[in-house]
């Protein structure tokens, strides 16, 4: 079967800062891939390049077998199928939870407000926030905000989900509720790319772990391989600090 994401020798520089130095990845359908690495190793930049929030300097990206740099590709349609969850939630503060969720289906998918609302409510229910539909984000706790953000991404019925440190901005007691939602998505067969420092969760949920160092994938393998038998001193060093 074709990989759903294929990245080939991706490079990204910010002026003279060479952040990604040739990254190649293949991700299969329903696979949960986790990226770990030190701060500044380029994990966020990698995710952002794959849906072209950041324009890569060179390299090729195929989503579902299509090269997304071809001129006939509408990147908005590609992004609509890739949900993204951010460390800082980035909920729209001038909209209620349900409006946050309905926005993209109505604007991009052009479905009726009625239908979008029904779907939105069932998604809120799924993340355990049915009663918060009409709250504004400022009235929600961090964990609730992040769950609304996940529901917002899911409302577009994406085939792939990106998570960029979804629990790093949360108080410890709220991490669990977000990870539960993610674990459920993984079990439902969503393709997920996760940047996270929650090693316990990665060990449970990820099919594959990639260790990024200085803009390259230094090491990859099953969680068991990486956590228990790291090959490189850098990896061992990093794991020693976070585990």
């Amino acid at each position: 079967m074709d990989p759903i994401i294929r990245v080939e020798s991706l490079h990204k520089s910010f002026r003279d800062l060479h952040v990604l130095r040739g990254v190649s990845i293949e991700v299969n359908r329903s696979e949960v891939v986790s990226f770990i690495g030190r701060s500044g190793s380029g994990k966020s930049t990698l995710l952002r390049c794959i849906n072209r929030l950041e324009e890569p300097t060179s390299g090729e990206i195929w989503i579902d077998g299509v090269n997304i740099h071809e001129p006939y590709i509408d990147i908005n349609k590609v992004r609509a199928e890739i949900g993204m969850v951010f460390q800082s939630f980035n909920l729209f503060p001038h909209m209620t939870a349900i409006d946050n969720i309905m926005l993209a289906p109505v604007c991009v998918r052009k479905i009726s407000r009625q239908e979008a609302k029904e779907r939105g409510l069932s998604l809120l229910e799924k993340v355990g926030l049915a009663e918060k539909a009409n709250e504004y984000p400022e009235k929600l706790s961090g964990g609730q905000r992040q769950r609304v953000a996940i529901a917002r991404a899911l409302a577009m019925q994406p085939r792939i989900m990106f998570f960029d440190e979804p629990t790093s901005a949360l108080d410890p007691e709220m991490v669990g509720e977000v990870l539960d939602v993610m674990a459920q998505m993984a079990s439902e067969g969503m393709t997920m790319l996760i940047v996270s420092h929650e090693m316990g969760f990665i060990r449970e949920a990820a099919d594959r772990v990639l260790f990024l160092d200085e803009g390259k994938i230094l090491e990859e393998g099953t969680p068991d391989d990486i956590f228990n038998r790291p090959q490189f001193p850098v990896t061992r060093d990093f794991l020693g600090k976070v585990l």
């Binding site: 992004r79 199928e81 951010f86 001038h94 926005l103 991009v108």
Partner: protein
């Protein structure tokens, strides 16, 4: 044990002297000094009977003492707010009274010249026609400069460097040219280039160009308050640039921008008065025509009052909106 203290601490924490201000601030002292000041004011020497030097010396001393007395109360945070209000009012009315009594102005003549409202009979309609020109001109210019400003701010937010260079040049140049100069150039110089603008169009164009630059800056500042994370979240959901702008960025910028925009509107309305130099029959121009016709400056005063009556509510509105935006502390 809990209430006792070591005498050493009492000594360490004590002042050497109780400050003079402590006694001065006592109500009894303030009341007595107030009485003295009022007596002093009543027995001020008559300027006709003493030397000018002696009179002005006394007057200055009185005013200095008066101001000091008020400042002592106004700067005392323990005095209640209504006392301070009264004191401020008292200070202003004392100063007004002294000015009225001793300034040597010829009040009757003054009123005859500047506040001779009866001569305005039958001419008010001229002023109100002027006002309507002013209002229509400002509203048209306002909408066109909002359009220009928003367009510029949006184009600028796309960060095309060469285009932004041009925009920056436009904004900087037109923010540094006085509106009056712009109008004169448009009206008197452009005809030599084969471009004839009548006085209305001149005013409209000058105000649009000049305030368009300010408005562009206002919108830019507003759009920049919306964090890049918001834009990224919207784009990652598949919204286009334009949808992101319409649904995410602009709605968040508007509450911040509106008060500033209304402030611009007020400034622009005042600046329509400049248009009288290119013979636009707006409020000031009408007032000046009446001034010539009636050989009395009263119409000018009337114009000032009309401006005040129209703009003061707008100024209050801006205040109110700003308070709503940064909901903090009292505003006066």
């Amino acid at each position: 044990m809990a209430t006792s203290y070591s005498s050493d601490a009492l000594q360490r924490f004590s002042r050497k002297h109780i400050p003079l201000l402590y006694y001065i601030r006592k109500p009894i002292f303030l009341l007595i000094s107030l009485a003295l000041i009022i007596v002093y004011a009543c027995f001020l020497p008559n300027p006709q009977e003493t030397s000018a030097f002696f009179f002005y010396l006394n007057l200055s001393v009185l005013i200095a003492v008066l101001v000091c007395w008020c400042v002592i109360i106004l700067a005392d945070w323990e005095k209640p707010e209504y006392v301070k209000m009264l004191v401020a009012f008292f200070l202003l009315s004392m100063l007004a009274l002294l000015f009225y009594r001793f300034s040597g102005a010829d009040w009757a003549r003054l009123i005859h010249f500047f506040f001779n409202f009866p001569i305005m009979k039958g001419s008010w309609h001229v002023l109100f026609r002027g006002l309507s020109t002013t209002v229509i001109l400002s509203i048209c210019s306002f909408f066109s400069c909002v359009f220009v400003g928003l367009l510029i701010a949006i184009v600028r937010s796309f960060k095309y460097h060469s285009v932004n260079l041009l925009i920056t040049m436009y904004v900087d140049i037109f923010r540094s040219i006085p509106v009056i100069v712009l109008m004169v150039v448009l009206f008197f110089v452009f005809p030599f280039l084969g471009m004839y603008l009548n006085s209305y169009l001149t005013t409209f164009t000058a105000l649009t160009l000049s305030y368009g630059a300010y408005t562009a800056e206002t919108f830019r500042a507003g759009l920049e308050t919306v964090s890049s994370g918001q834009v990224e979240a919207a784009r990652s959901l598949g919204l286009s640039r334009w949808q992101t702008l319409r649904k995410i960025t602009i709605p968040q910028a508007v509450p911040i921008v509106i008060p500033v925009l209304t402030g611009n509107m007020i400034a622009m309305m005042k600046d329509t008065a400049i248009a009288s130099i290119v013979a636009t029959p707006e409020l000031l121009k009408s007032a000046r025509e009446l001034y010539t016709a009636k050989t009395s400056p009263t119409p000018l005063i009337c114009a000032a009052i009309i401006f005040l009556a129209v703009l003061l509510p707008l100024v209050r509105l801006v205040n109110h909106m700003e308070r709503r935006v940064n909901k903090s502390g009292p505003h006066y």
